[in-house]
């Protein structure tokens, strides 16, 4: 048995053992995830050394190249981390037995997807993953969540159906081909297949307009689910597949229009989602809108078709999974004690939970693209890719660049609001006794935050040269000049100076006065100032207000439109078919009645009448015989 099968099968077996044996449950689950991670690491190192490894089992064909080895490693890592996190986080959860089993299954099947090296294998594993995700959602949702559940199932199911349809189209025209042929995108069938597959990838990763299931489930799912499915796994899989399809299976550079299609989707996703995130008052929902927004960068980067942009997109995918997972997890830690995710009710928790706060802050800065953290570096690579479009003569690059940069700014703004509302500001009285969470809760998020810093400072030697550049099929040329280490040193210097200035200020005695509003002094508890009203003027801005109204009402939600359209069509069809059936029925009734009354006249009970009919028949027969 090679490590390929073990990687997939062992988590399933250990998960099943854990499902059966109650007293060693957590140990078995943990063992399964660890073994999965172990084999993933082994495969990763094997894939670094050799070129391509293939293995065939019947129609299944597994193979690992440098890209899939790298993605595989992170899928296993995230499965392990989320498992560690949720063992503590969901300790009192009723259905945790099934929850963990599904978690392990999803981890191993995702590994199968990444390892798949021909169409059939990919289709089968993708289908299995879809059904597993349904099961997973079913076991993780809270009460009153049928709508969200149905919505996610609907969007994911429909888009996965389209994806499989796209692969099926390919299968019909090319057969069971491996995924690295670089087919050129210039006949209609291939373009159709490509668009269908990208729709599946978009829904998985959460690009607009197929994003709406992510904010919807964020209201009803625990933080660990959110961190696992939309934040890490689906980004890895969706973007991995998009990349694989765009530059391995097909060659995106052969079709100019499709590149623009990807970039437009990316830009709109960035802007629309970040604008929606700006006005949210619920931490999980806000984060989920950011999870959507960040996908836009990756799609934009892949769409550029410029090596540096694609590399940046891949790097951004990695970074995004790191900091977004960390953000979800830390928010989950806050929720673990406070049972609250509405940001107006929170505040001032930085003192109580310093480790959580640190992880959150680092991740928030990373997502906002603050140098020298990793988010900045990957975004910068994407910008470079977009700017490079200028050389190709694609003048739309300006719009894309604007959208991406503006989105980044707005991200920072919305995270200022979130950080302030949760961790800074006044602390409500009931949260005074809150303590830091357990090791198993803060360890995953802290590890991820640490990786954010590490990948930021040592961006070029560690992640780029080690992971990203070898994974891509083309040679990457650096554009521009950036020294992360140097920048880090400079920034540390700046922070040091700032700290000195702060201390200078802190030495001086601060004068405390009572707060007056409208001539009345406020009491202590009334002074709590929440950040939920940040940016509310944006909401009322003349141009944007309509858009936000629509957005809140779900007008940008593809699902709603689809639901309405389908409802209308079904109603129409019902009416039309009813009408047609009615007409057919009436016609049949008319004819049968006419014919019946005619026959009734013959059914007189008089012998001669029957004989007349018989003899008419005989006459006809005679006619035929004579003629």
């Amino acid at each position: 048995m090679s490590s390929f099968e073990l990687l997939i099968i062992l988590p399933i077996i250990f998960g099943f053992l854990g499902y059966l044996v109650s007293f060693l449950r957590n140990e078995f689950y943990f063992l399964g995830a660890i073994l999965n991670f172990h084999y993933a690491v082994r495969i990763f190192f094997i894939s670094r050394k050799t070129e391509v490894i293939r293995k065939t089992f019947g129609i299944f064909n597994f193979g690992v190249d440098k890209l899939s080895g790298f993605v595989l490693l992170f899928i296993s890592l995230f499965t392990l981390l989320i498992l560690i996190y949720s063992i503590r986080y969901l300790k009192y959860y009723e259905k945790k037995k099934e929850y963990f089993y599904y978690l392990l299954l999803i981890g191993s099947i995702s590994c199968g997807i990444v390892l798949a090296n021909n169409i059939i294998t990919l289709m089968i594993f993708w289908g299995i993953l879809l059904s597993l995700i349904f099961g997973f959602f079913q076991y993780t949702t809270k009460n009153n969540s049928e709508d969200a559940f149905i919505k996610s199932i609907f969007i994911l199911g429909l888009s996965d159906f389209l994806l499989i349809l796209g692969f099926a189209l390919l299968f019909v025209s090319y057969g069971n081909i491996p995924l690295n042929l670089k087919i050129s995108l210039n006949n209609n069938l291939n373009i159709l297949a490509y668009i269908l597959i990208t729709i599946g990838c978009f829904a998985k990763a959460g690009a607009i307009p197929l994003h709406s299931w992510i904010p919807e489930i964020s209201k009803v799912m625990p933080a660990s689910t959110m961190a696992f499915i939309p934040a890490s796994l689906d980004k890895l899989l969706g973007i991995y597949l998009l990349l694989k399809v765009s530059y391995y299976l097909f060659d995106l550079n052969t079709n100019f229009t499709l590149k623009n299609y990807l970039m437009i989707v990316g830009s709109i996703t960035i802007l629309a989602a970040v604008l929606m995130a700006l006005i949210q008052k619920e931490a999980m929902k806000l984060l989920s809108f950011h999870a959507v927004s960040q996908v836009g960068y990756m799609v934009l980067g892949i769409g550029t078709g410029v090596p540096i942009g694609v590399a940046g997109s891949l790097f951004h995918m990695l970074n995004n999974t790191l900091y977004k997972t960390s953000l979800f997890l830390t928010t989950g830690q806050v929720e673990f004690w406070t049972k609250e995710t509405r940001i107006e009710k929170l505040g001032g928790l930085a003192v109580n939970m310093p480790i959580t706060f640190t992880s959150f802050l680092i991740s928030a800065l990373a997502i906002s693209g603050i140098p020298p953290l990793n988010g900045f570096f990957s975004k910068r690579m994407i910008y470079q890719g977009v700017i490079y479009l200028y050389k190709e003569g694609n003048y739309l690059f300006l719009l894309y660049l604007l959208a991406a940069m503006f989105g980044s700014v707005l991200t920072l703004a919305s995270f200022l609001k979130l950080t302030h509302s949760i961790f800074l500001g006044d602390r409500p009285k009931e949260y005074e006794k809150i303590k830091e969470v357990n090791f198993s809760l803060w360890f995953p998020s802290s590890l991820l935050a640490f990786l954010c810093i590490l990948f930021g400072i040592l961006a070029i030697p560690l992640p780029l040269k080690g992971l990203i550049y070898p994974s891509l099929p083309f040679k990457i040329e650096e554009i521009g000049f950036w020294q992360p280490t140097l920048a880090f040193i400079l920034i540390i210097l700046g922070i040091g100076i700032g700290f000195v200035i702060y201390m200078w200020g802190a030495i001086q005695k601060i004068e405390k006065r009572e707060i007056f509003i409208g001539g009345e002094s406020l009491k202590e508890e009334e002074r709590h100032f929440s950040g939920d009203q940040f940016y509310s003027p944006i909401k009322e801005a003349p141009l944007l207000s309509k858009g936000f109204e629509f957005g809140e009402e779900g007008s940008f939600d593809f699902y709603n439109y689809l639901k309405t359209i389908l409802g209308t069509i079904s109603l129409l069809f019902k009416k039309v078919i009813d009408f047609i059936l009615e007409i057919i029925y009436q016609t049949i009734v008319y004819f049968s009645e006419t014919f019946g009354s005619l026959l009734r006249k013959f059914q007189s009970g008089i012998l001669s009448d029957y004989l007349v009919v018989i003899f008419i028949g005989i006459v006809i027969i005679l006619l035929i015989l004579i003629l």
């Binding site: 007189s604 008089i606 001669s608 009448d609 004989l611 007349v612 003899f615 008419i616 005989i618 006459v619 005679l622 006619l623 015989l625 004579i626």
Partner: protein
């Protein structure tokens, strides 16, 4: 063979009378005329067996008809009724059918061997064998009971069935009394 034609025409005339006459007893007698004409024709065409049976059966038929007519009514009241559309229709259909049937039968009869000259392919075989092997003088009996015993058995069954039918239909009244 002038007798044959006279008898045939007589039987046709008697048939028309039997069908059209108002008194049912008279029509039964006319039917008897037809039957006896047929019996005489059987003698003329060298079929004495048939003639014997036909005569006796005709007697019985007339007796039964008369018995029934005496028990029911002997005036055909339906002839007095006005003609309806339906009657015209049936008559029209009959006329059409009759014309077609005549045309068809004429064209079919042309295929038959001429009157008085049958082919007798199987019959010659039967005639030879019936005398030498079965040693029967009456070849009709030989055909009925030896060569074609199955047919006779079937016909006997039909007769049996019809007798049972008559008895079942009519016996119920006797039981009620």
């Amino acid at each position: 063979m002038i007798e044959l034609y006279i008898l045939l025409i007589a039987s046709i005339g008697a048939g028309i009378v039997a069908v059209e006459i108002k008194d049912l007893l008279a029509s039964a007698i006319s039917l008897g005329i037809v039957g006896f004409s047929v019996a005489i024709i059987f003698i003329l065409v060298q079929a004495p067996d048939l003639a014997i049976v036909q005569i006796v059966v005709e007697v019985l038929t007339v007796i039964i008809f008369v018995a029934v007519i005496l028990k029911t009514t002997h005036i055909d009241t339906t002839l007095e009724n006005k003609m309806e559309v339906r009657d015209y229709l049936t008559k029209g259909v009959f006329v059409i059918f009759g014309i077609f049937f005549l045309i068809f039968s004429i064209s079919a009869l042309k295929e038959l061997p001429e009157f008085g000259k049958p082919i007798m392919k199987i019959a010659s075989h039967y005639l030879a064998k019936g005398f030498e092997e079965i040693k029967a003088a009456n070849q009709v009996a030989a055909v009925i009971l030896d060569f074609r015993g199955y047919d006779t058995l079937g016909e006997a069954t039909v007769l049996f069935t019809s007798v049972i039918g008559v008895l079942t239909i009519l016996r119920k009244i006797g039981k009620k009394k």
